[in-house]
């Protein structure tokens, strides 16, 4: 039983980081309709940035904030310079995905060229430990949990309760019509990339702190976890991504506790493929897409 509780604790800590990243991914994918593989590379960038900032003596909060701001700007620039022009030209979906993969590779190998291919290890787990109900968390983990919960609730409220959120969802459903209704869709899209970039940056730092060591492939591997979480929860749903992140985190940790840790990734990926093939619209998805087909 202790093994189980411990694994669940690890799972929550890992899952929250997944959730933080997944919330950003799901909002960006859900609203701009671009499958952004570069997200993983930006996360690697954030992890290295966080590592450097903490090395300079900054606290966890400061590192989170700086990385979030930096990646948010990078994310907007990425959309402005690359993705938006492609979409305007009517490049097909696959073309855009290929470009995001290519951009991710460029970023990834730029990082290697600068930081080197070796594994970076972040010495001590920051903060003291907090115990309760058999769980053990570090204060850093608690900070990350708090950040994730706040980000998720804020995003959910933004999307469902505000005029801006309505405009965002309208842009997602049909950008052309949204534009003709007077919604400034470019701004909405920019905002989406900004939000998702900030979450990506925060998640990258969180990941750098919570994993013992990492190298330049951390982002793309982690991207699969985030995609799994986002798909589990239904693309575009912040709460869903949160739940999905926890399911992925706890599920993989518990499974790994009872078998070989080498297979931890395999479980996450297996779960994702099963999900994509069986219920691609997610556990929480409601049947809205089918209503659109009525138009014919």
């Amino acid at each position: 039983m202790n093994v189980f509780i411990e694994a669940v604790g690890f799972g929550i800590a890992a899952g929250v980081v997944v959730a933080l990243g997944a919330v950003g991914f799901t909002v960006q994918f859900g609203i701009s309709n671009v499958l952004n593989i570069t997200y993983g590379a930006l996360m690697t960038l954030a992890a290295y940035l966080g590592y450097a900032l903490l090395g300079l003596g900054l606290g966890v909060w400061e590192a989170l904030a700086v990385a979030a701001a930096a990646i948010a700007l990078a994310s907007v620039a990425f959309n402005r310079l690359l993705i938006a022009p492609l979409v305007r030209r009517g490049t097909g979906f696959v073309g855009v995905v290929i470009v995001t993969v290519a951009a991710g590779i460029i970023i990834q190998y730029c990082i290697v060229a600068i930081a080197g291919p070796d594994t970076v290890s972040y010495g001590q787990q920051a903060g003291s430990t907090v115990r309760g109900a058999g769980f053990v968390f570090t204060t850093t983990q608690l900070i990350i949990i708090a950040v994730t919960v706040v980000a998720m609730v804020a995003l959910h409220l933004l999307l469902t309760r505000t005029q801006l959120g309505r405009a965002m969802r309208a842009t997602s459903a049909n950008p052309v019509v949204a534009r003709s209704c007077g919604i400034r869709t470019e701004r909405i899209i920019d905002l989406t990339w900004l939000i998702s970039g900030a979450l990506c940056g925060a998640a990258g730092v969180a990941l750098a702190i919570t994993t013992v060591s990492f190298d330049f492939t951390i982002g793309p591997t982690f991207l699969i976890y985030m995609i799994a979480a986002a798909v589990l929860g239904g693309i575009g749903q912040p709460y869903g991504a949160m739940i999905g992140g926890l399911v992925v985190g706890v599920g993989t940790q518990v499974a790994a506790a009872y078998s070989s840790p080498a297979y931890q990734d395999v479980y996450a990926f297996g779960l994702l493929i099963a999900m994509l093939l069986i219920r691609p619209r997610g556990l929480l998805a409601a049947g809205t897409a089918s209503a659109r087909r009525l138009a014919g």
Binding site: P85, V112, L294
Partner: protein, 600 residues
């Protein structure tokens, strides 16, 4: 020399991927997994049992087979694996979800193979893989290997041309351009996709086996998911769908760039910089090409059929001039199509189609709610009603594009409710789409050619035997398509890409393509909408000619005067139900019809 071997093996892989992605439009981000499988299986077949080989590495199989047999077996296994990966694409996921599945499969495979040491020795990888030319003197072995790989490439190219050119290549490109439109003319899209992925898998397997045999080692680090991008970049740079372009692209991208950077002056402190630089250049190149030259250095070419300077055939002026339309159709449809009502006494109005209580729900909405009607053989049946009445949905249900929730569709006495759409099209239920769905990158005449059923050039026999088997068929087909184009005044556009046609021309193309598919029941979805009056008249005349010659037509149309002129029997739908039937003149006087149109 090493580079030449890499060029050859990369080329085989790139050709396979180009067949899948460039020609058939199948998104396969997991392609490199197949190359890897080829390498591993080649190794496992040629190596002896692990214990007998010193026991320092673990793997499955270990049969010590002759190398040629091992290469062939590895390639075949990869063909099967390619099919298996293809099966995941069968579920009609959005393209972005499919891309995700493929990426995940690719990363998952690396993880599993890396973690499971019993399979192919885990992350350490296999080594001491036998060289296929081990018997050749070591000093000359390299060049012999180059020659062997070159020979495989030449054979591979000749085989590949069978798939990418001629009627088979044409139908693959049609699938790439518009899957639904290909299904509508009776193409088995699922089968074609799986076939392509099997063939692509064989090429990948060959590539992997030859590479592993040359290097002598193979591990998960050789086939990270980014390697698929290297191949994709080669294809994009060279020219999507163009085999010769891919040769150029492969020479430039994986060989010149990824290998070429190794020859740059090395930085001692960071030996991996050259690799990094290679990947960065590759990424930039991909982006640059997708941006400014998506068609690649050597774009896909389409064959031309029209003699330059050939005179335009005279445009038919009177209805009688359109008589050949019916001949062109019945030539193809006969005798199978005509035998159906040849057995009936002339004048009998036996229904060719019976729709019985069909229901289609979308979420909670009943788009079609228990509609029943029949369509008589050799007649034009009209289907009218206000917007949202469910007319298009009914066409979808009859043609098999939408699945029935309840009820039956009986065609020519046979219940077709459970047949997939392409099988119904082959039986003769051919639909058009409300918004024209041309195969954009194919020429106008190719759009017609691809629709013809039962082409030997598309069959396995045609692929195996080659051109001589189908050349005559093809010539007849071209003549027929040209005549049809002439009748609709589009002979001049024959060699134009269909995507460049005007709206009205696309509409006509939609109808002509359906006629080429040899229909027995033609489902027309608002064919007249947006047509210039002269064109609409010509279409109307053609429909009349066709019906006189025995073609049954179900016509959804808002242009009620045309419906009145063409149709003896008109079915009126409103809110998913059939509310009235009869002649147009009677219907106009009926209250429920007036209410539906005015109120509903």
């Amino acid at each position: 020399m090493v580079l030449l071997v890499y060029l050859g093996t990369d080329l085989l892989a790139a050709w396979g991927l180009n067949l899948e992605f460039g020609v058939a439009g199948v998104v396969n981000f997991a392609y490199i997994v197949l190359v890897a499988a080829g390498a591993y299986f080649y190794a496992a077949f040629t190596l002896g049992p692990p214990a007998a080989m010193g026991g320092f590495q673990e793997y499955i199989i270990g049969l010590r087979l002759p190398v040629v047999l091992a290469v062939v077996l590895a390639a075949l296994i990869c063909g099967v694996l390619g099919c298996l990966i293809g099966v995941t694409g069968l579920k009609r996921l959005r393209a972005d979800y499919q891309a995700m599945v493929m990426l995940v499969i690719s990363i998952l495979a690396t993880t599993v193979v890396g973690a499971d040491t019993g399979l192919f020795n885990g992350n350490a990888g296999l080594s001491l893989i036998p060289n296929p030319l081990a018997s050749v003197d070591a000093s000359r072995r390299g060049w012999y290997y180059v020659a062997a790989v070159a020979a495989v490439c030449v054979l591979g190219y000749l085989a590949l041309r069978r798939f990418t050119t001629g009627p088979f290549g044409r139908v693959l490109r049609a699938v790439r351009e518009d899957e639904d439109a290909a299904i509508a003319v009776g193409k088995n899209v699922v089968g074609l996709r799986l076939a392509v992925q099997a063939v692509g898998g064989v090429y990948a397997g060959l590539s992997g086996a030859l590479l592993a045999g040359f290097i002598g080692g193979w591990s998960p680090s050789s086939w990270a998911y980014v390697e698929t991008l290297a191949l994709l970049t080669a294809i994009i740079v060279g020219g999507l769908g163009n085999d010769a372009g891919v040769l150029l692209g492969t020479a430039v991208v994986p060989v010149l760039i990824l290998q070429g950077v190794q020859f740059l002056p090395q930085v001692k402190s960071a030996p991996q910089l050259a690799d990094d630089l290679g990947w960065i250049i590759l990424g930039l190149l991909t982006i640059a090409f997708v941006f400014s030259r998506p068609q690649g250095l050597i774009p896909e070419r389409r064959p031309r059929y029209r003699q330059p300077g050939a005179p335009e055939p005279p445009l038919p002026v009177s209805t009688a001039d359109l008589a050949p339309v019916a001949r062109l159709w019945s030539q193809r449809a006969a005798p199978a199509a005509l035998s159906g009502h040849a057995q009936q006494a002339p004048g009998s109005r036996a229904p060719v189609l019976a729709v019985e209580g069909v229901v289609k729900r979308y979420g909670g909405v009943h788009a079609v709610d228990g509609a029943s009607f029949t369509a008589a053989a050799g007649r034009i049946t009209g289907l009218i009603g206000p917007n949202g009445a469910g007319k298009s949905t009914v066409l979808g249900l009859v043609s098999g594009f939408a699945r029935l929730d309840a009820g039956r569709v009986v065609f020519d006495g046979r219940d077709v409710s459970r047949l997939p759409a392409h099988r119904r099209a082959r039986l003769g239920i051919v639909r058009t789409f409300q918004l024209p769905r041309e195969f954009r990158a194919l020429t106008t005449i190719e759009n017609l050619l691809v629709a013809a059923p039962g082409q030997r050039g598309e069959s396995v026999a045609g692929l195996a035997a080659g051109r001589w088997l189908w050349r005559r068929d093809e010539e007849e087909l071209v003549a027929r398509a040209q005549e049809l184009l002439g009748l609709f005044g589009m002979a001049g556009q024959a060699d134009q890409r269909a995507g460049r046609l005007s709206g009205g021309q696309k509409r006509m193309l939609e109808v002509m393509r359906a006629l080429m598919a040899g229909p027995r029941l033609l489902l027309l979805d608002e064919p007249m909408a947006g047509l210039a009056p002269a064109l609409a008249e010509r279409l109307e005349a053609a429909c009349r000619q066709l019906a006189d010659d025995g073609l049954s037509i179900l016509l959804v149309e808002h242009e009620l005067r045309a419906v009145e002129r063409l149709c003896e029997q008109v079915v009126v739908m409103a809110q998913g139900k059939v509310i009235s039937e009869g002649r147009m003149a009677e219907l106009r006087t009926r209250k429920e019809v007036q209410d539906a149109y005015v109120v509903g």
